[in-house]
C-alpha cells in the first residue's frame, strides 16, 4: 500500500465518520439488521457467495461450510441485534436523545482479523458501526472472502453506510501500512497471544485496544452422559461441534473430560465418539490440510499407540487417513492437539480432579459443553464460572453462539464504546 492510498483511506474514514454522526442510530441498526437477515437466508446472494467461495479460499468442504453457516447465522437477526444493543447500551430509542449517560464510538475502529471462520468476522465488522465508528479491516490470510462479502451486502443495502467499511488488505511485512492502520483510535485484533502482545506494544496508552488472544473449548461430561439413553445423542452433538469448521475455531472442543468412577466408561464414550465422527465425516467431510498438519496428526496418533503398546490405558480410534481421530487417554495430562477433528477423551475420577485438570487451561477457556451431571449441574456451573469459562452450553450447540455471547467474558459493544456521564 503506497502513501497516496493511505491518504485516500484516511480521507474516506473522515468522511465516513462525518456521515455516521449525522445518522440516527435507529437507521443504522435497521440496515445492519437487514444484513443479518440476508446472511441468515440460505438463498441470498451473500450466503450463496460465502458458501461458494469459502471452500476453495479457506479449505473447508462445501458441506461443512453450508452446515456451519446455517447453524452459525440461525439465531442472528434484527431482533437479537436490538436485544444485544439494549442489553449493553440501553434502550435503542433513547440512544440519540438526552439521557444521563451518552454512548459514542471512536473516530474509527481498525480491525486485524486472524481466523478462518466467518461469524466472528461479521460481528467484528458490524459492532463498531452500531456505535457510528467507521471500520477499517485487514482481512485474515485465511479468509479474504467474508470481509468482502459483508462490505458488499452493506453497500447494496445502503451505499453510504457501505462506504463506512473499508477492507484494506496489506502484507504483514508492509510496516508503513501497519503503522498507519494502527494509528486508529480503537484497535480490535484477534490472533495468538504473541500477536496480541506485539500489537499492544505498538500502541499508545490513549488508544483503545480490544485484543482476542488464544482461546480453547472443552466438553465436560458426567456419569449420565454414558448411559445408553444419552451416549449416542451426546457423541453426535460433540461430533458436530468438532466437525463444523474442522475444529479450527475457539468454540470447538479440543478435549473431552469424562467424570466417572468406572474406567471402562471412557472406552464406551471414546467408541461412541469415534462412531459419531465417522458418520460426521460422511455428512460433512473434513477439508484439506497441509502436509505439516498431517504429519502432526500422524505423530500424535503413533505416540498414543506407543503408549498403548507400553501398557498404558490408551486407545486410538481413527479413520484410515487423517480424517478424524479419537484418543482415549489414561489421564487428563495436557497433550498437544493438532486439531482438524482430533479429540482426546480424558477420564477423571471426580470433580476435584476435574478442577485440577482444568486449572492450567483456565486463562484460555472459552466455551464448555456440559452434560450428564443431573442434579450436580449447578455446582459444575459454579466451578466453571470461577474458572472463567465465557460460555456453558449443551453438546451440539457450541458452534451456534448467540449474537450477544460474551466473547472472552466481555461485552460485544461495550469494549468499543466510550461512555459519558452527564451530571449537569
Amino acid at each position: 500500500m503506497n502513501a497516496a492510498e493511505r491518504i485516500k483511506i484516511q480521507k474516506n474514514v473522515c468522511d465516513a465518520r462525518r456521515y455516521l454522526l449525522e445518522q440516527p442510530t435507529q437507521k443504522i441498526v435497521e440496515c445492519l439488521s437487514r444484513v443479518l437477515d440476508d446472511l441468515r437466508d440460505p438463498q441470498s446472494a451473500a450466503r450463496i457467495t460465502l458458501a461458494g467461495e469459502l471452500p476453495s479460499a479457506v479449505g473447508f468442504s462445501p458441506e461443512t461450510t453450508r452446515e456451519g453457516l446455517a447453524r452459525g447465522f440461525a439465531a442472528w437477526n434484527g431482533a437479537t441485534l436490538r436485544q444485544l444493543i439494549e442489553r449493553e447500551l440501553g434502550p435503542l430509542d433513547k440512544m440519540d436523545q438526552t439521557s444521563s449517560c451518552r454512548v459514542s464510538g471512536f473516530d474509527s475502529t481498525a480491525i486485524l482479523l486472524a481466523g478462518a471462520i466467518p461469524m466472528p468476522t461479521i460481528l467484528a465488522m458490524l459492532a463498531p458501526l452500531v456505535l457510528r465508528s467507521p471500520v477499517l479491516v485487514k482481512p485474515s490470510t485465511h479468509d479474504s472472502v467474508t470481509p468482502r462479502v459483508f462490505a458488499k451486502i452493506l453497500s447494496a443495502l445502503d451505499p453510504d453506510l457501505g462506504s463506512c467499511v473499508q477492507v484494506v488488505p496489506f502484507a504483514s511485512t508492509d510496516h508503513d501500512a501497519l503503522t498507519a492502520f494502527l494509528a486508529a483510535p480503537c484497535i480490535v485484533a484477534t490472533g495468538s497471544d504473541t500477536t496480541i502482545q506485539n500489537i499492544a506494544s505498538m500502541l499508545h496508552p490513549t488508544q483503545r485496544f480490544v485484543g482476542y488472544g488464544h482461546r480453547l473449548s472443552v466438553a465436560i461430561l458426567g456419569p449420565d452422559a454414558v448411559s445408553s439413553s444419552n451416549i449416542t445423542r451426546i457423541a453426535n452433538g460433540i461430533a458436530l461441534d468438532v466437525a463444523l469448521w474442522d475444529q479450527l475455531g475457539c468454540l470447538s472442543p479440543v478435549g473431552i473430560y469424562l467424570v466417572h468412577d468406572d474406567p471402562d466408561a471412557a472406552n464406551r464414550l471414546a467408541n461412541a465418539l469415534a462412531q459419531a465422527l465417522r458418520k460426521a465425516e460422511g455428512d460433512w467431510p473434513r477439508g484439506r490440510i497441509d502436509a505439516k498438519t498431517a504429519a502432526q496428526i500422524a505423530q500424535e496418533r503413533a505416540e498414543a499407540e506407543m503408549r498403548s503398546a507400553a501398557g498404558k490405558s490408551v486407545h486410538v480410534y481413527s479413520s484410515s487417513g487423517t480424517g478424524w481421530t479419537v484418543i482415549r487417554e489414561e489421564d487428563a495430562t495436557p497433550r498437544a492437539n493438532p486439531l482438524h477433528r482430533f479429540l482426546r477423551v480424558a477420564p477423571v475420577r471426580d470433580i476435584h480432579q476435574l478442577k485440577q485438570a482444568l486449572l492450567p487451561l483456565s486463562p484460555h477457556l472459552a466455551a464448555v459443553a456440559l452434560d450428564g451431571f443431573g442434579a450436580a449441574t449447578p455446582s459444575l456451573v459454579r466451578m466453571l464460572v470461577e474458572l472463567g469459562a465465557s460460555r456453558i452450553c449443551l453438546p451440539g450447540t457450541m458452534q451456534s453462539p448467540p449474537l450477544a455471547w460474551h466473547h472472552d467474558n466481555r461485552g460485544v459493544l461495550t469494549p468499543l464504546a466510550r461512555f459519558t456521564d452527564l451530571e449537569l
Binding site: 504429519a295 502432526q296 505416540e303 499407540e305 506407543m306 503398546a309 507400553a310 501398557g311 498437544a336
Partner: protein, 381 residues
C-alpha cells in the same frame, strides 16, 4: 574426556555394534563413504530383530501394526516410532540400569522433554565425527581452522546432544583453536568478537557453529556495536536447530543474508545441520561437499530417509512432499527407525527439510540455548 564407555554384555548387541562401528571407521576414508544397500539391509534387519527382542513396548507396537521380524523383508518396512514417544516412554533396547548417559530435548521445565538413554556413546561419536568432518571440512583441514561454538560445552550442558557433538568435534578434530562462548547461559560476545578479530588479523579461517537462535543473539550484539566483520577466506558457519516457535524467527534466506553481511561469509559457506536428540547421526547441507549440485541434506551411509504420505503411510513419489522417516544404525541402543513430524522431500541422493514441528510441543536444540539467553536477559533486568 568422555569416560562413559561401557562394554555391552549382550553378545548379539556386541556383534551388531562391532559391525556398525567397523562401517563407521571405514567411512573415515572418503572412498569408503558408500551407501552399501546390502550392508544396510542386513544390519538394519539385524538391529530390528534385536530391538524387537529387547524393547518390550516397541515389540508390542510392532505386533499391533502388525510388522515383526518374521513378517518383513526390507528395512523400509521396519516399524518407526514417533519422536514424540521419547517424551513419555524410555525407549531402550538394553536394561535401564545400564544407561550411562541421557540426552534431553530442549524445552522449559513445564514441557515434557524427550529423552534418549544410551548405554554407550561409542557409536554416537563414531557416527558424528566422519559425517561432521566430511560435510563441514571437505575442502580444508580442520587443523588449519579455529572453531568457535555459540553453545555451552558438554560439561556445562551434559544432557544436550548438540553440546556433546560440538565438544566431541572440538576434542577430536584438532582445530588450531577451539572455544565455547555460551557460559552459564550468557553469550560471551566481547570474548567472541576478540577471538574473531584475532583470527582475522592472523588470517586463520574460522568455523563458527551454533543454533540459529544463538546466531540471532549474536547478530543483535554486532548490530548494537555497529560491527561488521570480514572473516578470513575459507571461513564457514554451521547453524542448526531452527527457531521452533520462538517469538523472533527469520526465514533461512534472511538469516543467511544477515550472517553474510556481519561475518563476511558467503551463503555458499553456511551449512545447516539437521539433527535431533533422538538420533545418533546427523545430516548436513551438501553445499560445501558438492558446491556445483543442488543444496540438499546428506547423511552417512548407515542412515536412510524416507518421505512418507501421512494419509497412506506409504512413500511419496520422488520430489513430492511427505513426512520424514529416518533409519539410523547408530541407534542400536534405542530404536533405529524414527518417525519425525518434520516434512520434506527427496532430492537425488539426499533430501530437503521444508518444515519442522512447531507449536506448543516444541523441541530441538535451538530453544535450549535461547531459553538460557532469555533467562539471563531477565536476570540482568
Amino acid at each position: 574426556m568422555f569416560p562413559s564407555m561401557k562394554t555391552n554384555t549382550d553378545p548379539q548387541r556386541r556383534d551388531l555394534d562391532t559391525r556398525i562401528l567397523a562401517w563407521m571407521q571405514e567411512a573415515s576414508e572418503p572412498k569408503n563413504w558408500i551407501p552399501n544397500e546390502a550392508r544396510f539391509e542386513e544390519l538394519s534387519l539385524a538391529c530390528f530383530r534385536f530391538q524387537f527382542k529387547h524393547c518390550e513396548s516397541y515389540a508390542n507396537y510392532c505386533r499391533k501394526i502388525p510388522k515383526t521380524p518374521d513378517s518383513i523383508q526390507s528395512w523400509k518396512e521396519i516399524p518407526s516410532v514417533p519422536t514424540e514417544a521419547f517424551k513419555t516412554l524410555t525407549l531402550t533396547s538394553f536394561p535401564s540400569e545400564n544407561a550411562v548417559h541421557v540426552f534431553r530435548t530442549s524445552g522449559s521445565t513445564a514441557a515434557k522433554r524427550g529423552e534418549l538413554h544410551l548405554d554407550t556413546l561409542e557409536l554416537y561419536e563414531a557416527s558424528l565425527l566422519p559425517t561432521f568432518a566430511r560435510h563441514l571440512f571437505p575442502d580444508i583441514d580442520p587443523k588449519k581452522c579455529n572453531a568457535f561454538f555459540l553453545a555451552a560445552d558438554a560439561q556445562e550442558a551434559p544432557d544436550s546432544s548438540l553440546s556433546h557433538m560440538f565438544s566431541t568435534a572440538a576434542a577430536r578434530l584438532h582445530f588450531a583453536k577451539s572455544q565455547f562462548f555460551l557460559r552459564q547461559g550468557k553469550l560471551e560476545i566481547a570474548a567472541l568478537i576478540s577471538e574473531l578479530e584475532t583470527s582475522i588479523s592472523q588470517r586463520t579461517p574460522v568455523a563458527l557453529l551454533g543454533t540459529a537462535f544463538s546466531f540471532v543473539h549474536c547478530l543483535d550484539a554486532l548490530r548494537e556495536r555497529k560491527l561488521r566483520l570480514q572473516l578470513p577466506p575459507g571461513s564457514r558457519i554451521l547453524e542448526t536447530g531452527g527457531f521452533k516457535g520462538r517469538s523472533r524467527e527469520y526465514p533461512a534466506a534472511e538469516l543467511y543474508a544477515l550472517l553474510s553481511t556481519h561475518f563476511g561469509v558467503d551463503s555458499s559457506h553456511i551449512v545447516n545441520q539437521y539433527g535431533m536428540t533422538e538420533l545418533g547421526s546427523q545430516f548436513y547441507d551438501s553445499n560445501l561437499l558438492a558446491p556445483e549440485q543442488p543444496r540438499r541434506k546428506l547423511g552417512p551411509p548407515w542412515t536412510r530417509v524416507l518421505c512418507i504420505d501421512s494419509e497412506t503411510d506409504r512413500e511419496v513419489p520422488d520430489g513430492e512432499i511427505g513426512i520424514l522417516r529416518i533409519f539410523d544404525l547408530a541407534n542400536t541402543g534405542s530404536l533405529i527407525a524414527l518417525q519425525t513430524a518434520d516434512i520434506g522431500r527427496k532430492i537425488a541422493d539426499g533430501f530437503e527439510v521444508l518444515g519442522r514441528q512447531t507449536g506448543a510441543e516444541t523441541r530441538g536444540c535451538s530453544i535450549a540455548a535461547d531459553a538460557l539467553l532469555l533467562e539471563n536477559a531477565r536476570e540482568r533486568r
